[in-house]
């Protein structure tokens, strides 16, 4: 093809580039239309053999004309030129070719095709796996299509909930009518159309009686929503659909920063007016540029005014292609022949010679342009010189969404097509998809080897035959063995052609041969769109603590902890993390420190039955607590393993405060709610999650008591006591709990006033020589003290006994997990028990394995390692098989991944003040 194929010219105002050459398009052109108008027929290369490919269709089913569009982080590989509307400055590049589209070195794969049939790779490349990887490297580089961008995506993607009474998919004549009727009946209507203009088949075959634009206006005036460039891509349970809406074209800079929108839509009823896709015709070299679907030819002619060829052969098995002949004749093209596979057909347009019982058997070309069609007419061959062949092998109803909805298909023998039947959901199909035109089965005439079925993946009739020969006979085996239908067009043009061949091989009808499942998405969906706003945060917002800004002023090292960010240490004078945390821990041991513990799980439990609920939830006794007292507690899963720990406080006669770990707070909230609502709905009690209501500040150290006494103007409670107070004019709860091993308090204050309280405590603490401490110092302190931590020693596989907490269990039982604990394996002698380790040489690698001698399987592992805070001796906590009875034993901690080792002695897990004298009065 050469020279302008579009008349009149002069309206080409939209500049774009393809492979570096600048062209001009008309507004409303697809890239495919614009390329054809500019005489560009070669657009891409196939996946396997790198065969030259042109434009075969005018829609989303296009297998061949794929380009990369856009620049930088906006570049979208594998974009169909037929589903891409040209915008000013658009940059499109062909793919899968080197060094250029017209001269692609890898097209030599085509020469080796006889050895590279379906599944060839299963039969060769043996030897060690390393060898395969070398071949694989070649295959990987030759495969793939476009390149992924390497820069971050600059755009946002919107995700939005949608609701309607009636969703209509497709704005062809049937869809427009249905949507308008529903809108007129007062329904909440949504009409979606994947194209940039409403009308569907009317864009190709206009009907003067139907004005799509006017109908859209009318629907909108009635309150209906009409979304163009919007594809219903997934149909899920309970009439939930995902729609993808383009707010900008691929690669285009979007107006509001959002490139696309994903609709999460719940529809009362769904009407599918999705129309038909034309079926190609298998013959030798049917993948050549210049082989085009008949309706696509009509689209280019009538919608875009582009004449895709001047000397044309039409090959068909149905009446629809006669309309194409008519359109071509009207446009001044020379329709050299109309090959009708049937014995008879309708009247042909004047001047067009119709051949009946005629099928194309091969085409040939030169320099990627079509030259000749050879056909079998009756019993003899005849050739035609052409630059285009328009083919129609019948029509396939677009039943993808119907199938996704769980719908059944009925077989139409006269149309050789599956037609949507019943669905289990509130969904129906209307319009052309229900009535594909009659189109009889036609036996292919050309050589099977070069008669392509799946164009992009280069699957030919011969590949299907080979799969059959080798026993891959179920349609799923066929698909997987040949890769048929696995390309980016998802088999939209290949599926029925392949099924027909399979049925022919099996000697059965097509429905007996089977059908593969259609699953979402209908057309491929951008990953960034599916990620939505979560693409920047993994779908997990950072949770900020109430005093975030106040800490920020200290420029701390922040620590992500689950979703939370907490200060890890407050370095001064260029300290490292280790130096700062050691200084902070020493300050706590010798003076006092304050720390933010706001993220602790906190639950207020009130009512006459509050204690009864807590005795179910907690594995320790709770009921006997006096008002104003608290105790350490832990909670078990139903299998007997410790799931969390914390403290429980009796604030008043019938009001308790239960704390849990930060990471376990959400889980505990759910667990307590389950126990209360599912097991004991009869209890008179209320459980309220107050985790965020209260900010928590820990004040610890030998001077903590004095500092706090001065701040609240009263004697603070003694160890494990509770008292309300007022600090800096703000009401607070003071809990005398020690995590650090020092005399310590937790001050809980309504989060909105926490800054005043923190500032007062910090000032008073600093005045005494103390300082704030972060999570890392807290970790050093608790390791030395031997307190377990959820996610460390409490690893979901440990019983209370394993952790040395067995003595605290409620002897009466009745708590959640009591039954699970009775199982024999939970009390064996070789369970992993919590122990302490003292180094006999260097630092102990955290996470390292405990062994007696090299080469042995591990007997335990280090859960947390530190140094004695004042003495500097490396210590650790560990879980060790039979550890409770192994105190005094010498072992090796080894970490092969870090090349570290230490000799250690097993001890009790309490290195600091084991009797707890420092926090007692």
């Amino acid at each position: 093809m050469s020279g302008p194929t579009r008349t009149p010219s002069g309206e080409e105002t939209v500049p774009f580039t393809f492979d570096g050459t600048t062209y001009h398009a008309r507004p409303g052109d697809t890239l495919a239309a614009a390329l054809l108008a500019n005489g560009v027929g070669l657009v891409g290369r196939s996946f396997k053999y790198h065969r030259p490919r042109g434009i075969m269709t005018a829609g989303i089913e296009e297998p061949n004309a794929l380009v990369t569009v856009g620049k930088g982080g906006r570049a979208e590989p594998n974009t169909r030129a037929t589903d891409l509307f040209v915008y000013p400055g658009m940059v499109a590049m062909s793919q899968n070719r080197w060094p250029s589209l017209s001269f692609d070195v890898a097209s030599i794969f085509g020469l080796a095709a006889p050895a590279l049939g379906a599944g060839f790779y299963y039969k060769t490349f043996f030897g060690p796996a390393k060898h395969w990887m070398r071949y694989e490297g070649f295959i990987r580089r030759a495969a793939g299509l476009g390149n992924a961008p390497t820069e971050p995506d600059p755009d946002n993607f919107s995700q939005r909930a949608g609701f309607c009474d009636v969703l209509v998919v497709g704005s062809g004549p049937a869809g427009l009518k249905a949507a308008l009727e529903a809108a007129e009946a007062g329904k909440r209507v949504m009409l979606v159309e994947q194209d940039s203009a409403p009308g569907g088949s009317l864009l190709r075959d206009p009907d003067p009686a139907i004005d799509p634009a006017a109908m859209v206006d009318r629907i909108r005036a009635l309150g209906g929503e009409v979304l163009l460039r919007t594809t219903a891509s997934g149909y899920w349970d309970h009439n939930f659909l995902t729609l993808t809406q383009r707010l900008a074209e691929p690669g285009e800079v979007p107006p509001h920063g959002f490139a696309q929108r994903l609709w999460h839509l719940r529809a009362g009823r769904v009407i599918l007016a999705t129309g038909l896709i034309e079926r190609p015709v298998p013959f030798a070299n049917n993948d050549h540029p210049g082989v085009m679907l008949s309706q696509a030819v009509r689209s280019y002619l009538r919608r875009w005014g582009v004449l895709p060829g001047k000397r044309v052969v039409i090959a068909t098995n149905n009446d629809d292609a006669y309309l194409t002949a008519q359109a071509l004749v009207e446009a001044g093209a020379d329709v050299v022949a109309l090959l009708d596979a049937r014995a008879s057909g309708p009247a042909a347009p004047a001047g067009v010679t119709v051949y009946h019982d005629a099928r194309p058997s091969s085409v040939t070309g030169r320099k990627h342009a079509l030259r000749k069609v050879t056909a079998v007419i009756g019993g003899s061959e005849q050739s035609f010189d052409v630059d285009l062949i328009a083919v129609s092998g019948g029509f396939v109803p677009v039943s993808h969404l119907h199938m996704q909805a769980g719908g059944k298909l009925n077989w139409s023998e006269e149309a050789q097509a599956f037609v949507p039947g019943e669905t289990p959901q509130a969904c129906e199909t209307i319009g052309a998809a229900l009535a594909p035109p009659p189109a009889p089965a036609v036996a292919p005439a050309g050589k099977a080897k070069k008669s392509f079925v799946d164009f992009q993946n280069d699957v030919s009739l011969a590949d299907i035959d080979l799969a059959w020969q080798e026993g891959y006979r179920s349609v799923e085996h066929l698909k997987r063995y040949t890769t048929l239908g696995m390309a980016t067009d998802q088999g939209k043009t290949s599926n029925m052609v392949a099924l027909s061949r399979l049925a022919e091989k099996q000697g059965v009808s097509v429905p007996q041969a089977g059908l593969t499942t259609f699953r979402p998405p209908f057309t491929p969906v951008t990953m960034g769109l599916l990620a939505g706003a979560g693409a920047r945060n993994a779908g997990a917002h950072v949770r900020r603590i109430p005093l975030h800004a106040l800490h920020e002023a200290h420029d701390p090292i922040w620590q992500p902890l689950g979703y939370w960010f907490r200060p890890r240490a407050y370095p001064v004078d260029g300290e490292t993390l280790a130096e700062a945390s050691l200084r902070e821990a020493r300050t706590v041991r010798t003076v006092a420190g304050l720390s933010d513990v706001s993220t602790l799980g906190k639950f207020e439990v009130s009512g006459p039955d509050a204690a009864a609920l807590l005795e179910l939830v907690c594995a320790t006794t709770v009921g006997k607590l006096a008002v104003g007292r608290g105790r350490y507690t832990f909670m078990l899963r139903e299998d007997g393993m410790v799931q969390d720990d914390g403290t429980v406080w009796r604030l008043a006669e019938d009001r308790y405060l239960l704390t849990s770990s930060t990471g376990g707070a959400d889980r505990m909230a759910h667990f307590i709610s389950y126990v209360r609502n599912s097991l004991r709905p009869d209890l008179k009690c209320s459980v309220v999650n107050v985790q965020e209501h209260y900010a928590g500040i820990a004040l610890a150290g030998p001077k903590a008591r004095g500092i706090l006494a001065a701040l609240i103007g009263a004697e603070p409670p003694r160890h494990m006591g509770y008292a309300p107070g007022v600090l800096a004019g703000v009401p607070v709860h003071v809990l005398a709990a020690s995590y650090s091993g020092e005399r310590a308090f937790e001050i809980h204050v309504e989060a909105t006033h926490a800054d005043k309280v923190w500032q007062a405590i910090e000032a008073a603490t600093r005045a005494e020589g103390g300082a704030p401490y972060g999570l890392e110092a807290m970790e050093l302190l608790r390791i030395e003290k031997g307190h377990v931590v959820v996610g460390g020693e409490v690893d979901g596989r440990s019983t209370p006994h394993d952790l040395g907490l067995g003595g605290m269990l409620n002897k009466v039982g009745g708590f959640i997990g009591a039954a699970g604990l009775t199982r024999p394996a939970l009390s064996g002698p070789n369970r992993n028990n919590l122990v302490g380790l003292v180094s006999l040489d260097g630092p102990i690698p955290e996470g390292g394995m405990l062994i007696q001698r090299a080469g042995q399987s591990p007997q335990g592992h280090v859960t947390a390692a530190a140094r004695r805070i004042l003495e500097g001796v490396p210590i650790a906590l560990a879980l060790l098989q039979g550890g409770h009875r192994r105190h005094g034993e010498e072992l090796i901690v080894t970490s092969p991944t870090r090349g570290e080792k230490a000799r250690v002695r097993v001890t009790a897990p309490h290195f600091y003040d084991p009797a707890g004298e420092r926090y007692r009065d």
Binding site: H541, R544, Y563, S686, E692, E750
Partner: protein
């Protein structure tokens, strides 16, 4: 859109969870007498000059305002627990609030499904929020404090999309 939609964080307010665990009918009668309005049904609100009650849960009402008069009416059948420290209130005002709340959401905010005076607890961009349709022109969102800044940012980014 001519009028702009805006998101404003409101000053902290006294908020309590009012839970009734037994004899709900008797408590309802006592509360009605004390407040001179009935406890609102599920996903509705009711108010007088000093207090608004919003029912988000079968046995729990969110009480905004002065709860002193309520404490005595509960007896052994329920309790009040302060929760205001953990919640940031946003007023989303303007003609686009219903549309904005569909962004990242799963809940139908149309006037038919969520009329003025209604309340609903739902999820927006992975965050559990409670909504109160204050008027045709404004909605109050009760957001966990820890997520408030992130969600505010999310809404700000989505504002240009309204009507687009």
């Amino acid at each position: 859109m001519t009028e702009a939609t805006s998101i404003i964080a409101l000053p902290a307010a006294p908020l309590h969870a009012l839970e009734i665990w037994s004899n709900p009918q008797c408590v309802a009668t006592r509360v009605h007498k004390a407040l001179r309005f009935a406890l609102p049904p599920m996903n509705r609100s009711a108010a007088n000059a000093s207090i608004t009650l919003m029912r988000f849960e079968p046995t729990v009402w969110l009480a905004e305002g002065d709860v002193s008069v309520l404490a005595d009416t509960l007896g052994d059948d329920g309790a009040l627990t302060a929760i205001g420290g953990g919640i940031v209130r946003f007023r989303i005002a303007g003609p686009g609030w219903r549309e904005l709340l569909l962004e990242g959401g799963v809940f139908d905010t149309s006037a038919a499904a969520f009329p003025v005076g209604a309340t609903a607890a739902t999820v927006i961009d992975h965050v559990g929020v409670r909504l109160f349709a204050e008027s045709e022109d404004a909605c109050i969102a009760y957001v966990p404090s820890s997520y408030a800044q992130s969600l505010h940012h999310f809404w700000d980014e989505a504002l240009p999309l309204l009507g687009a």
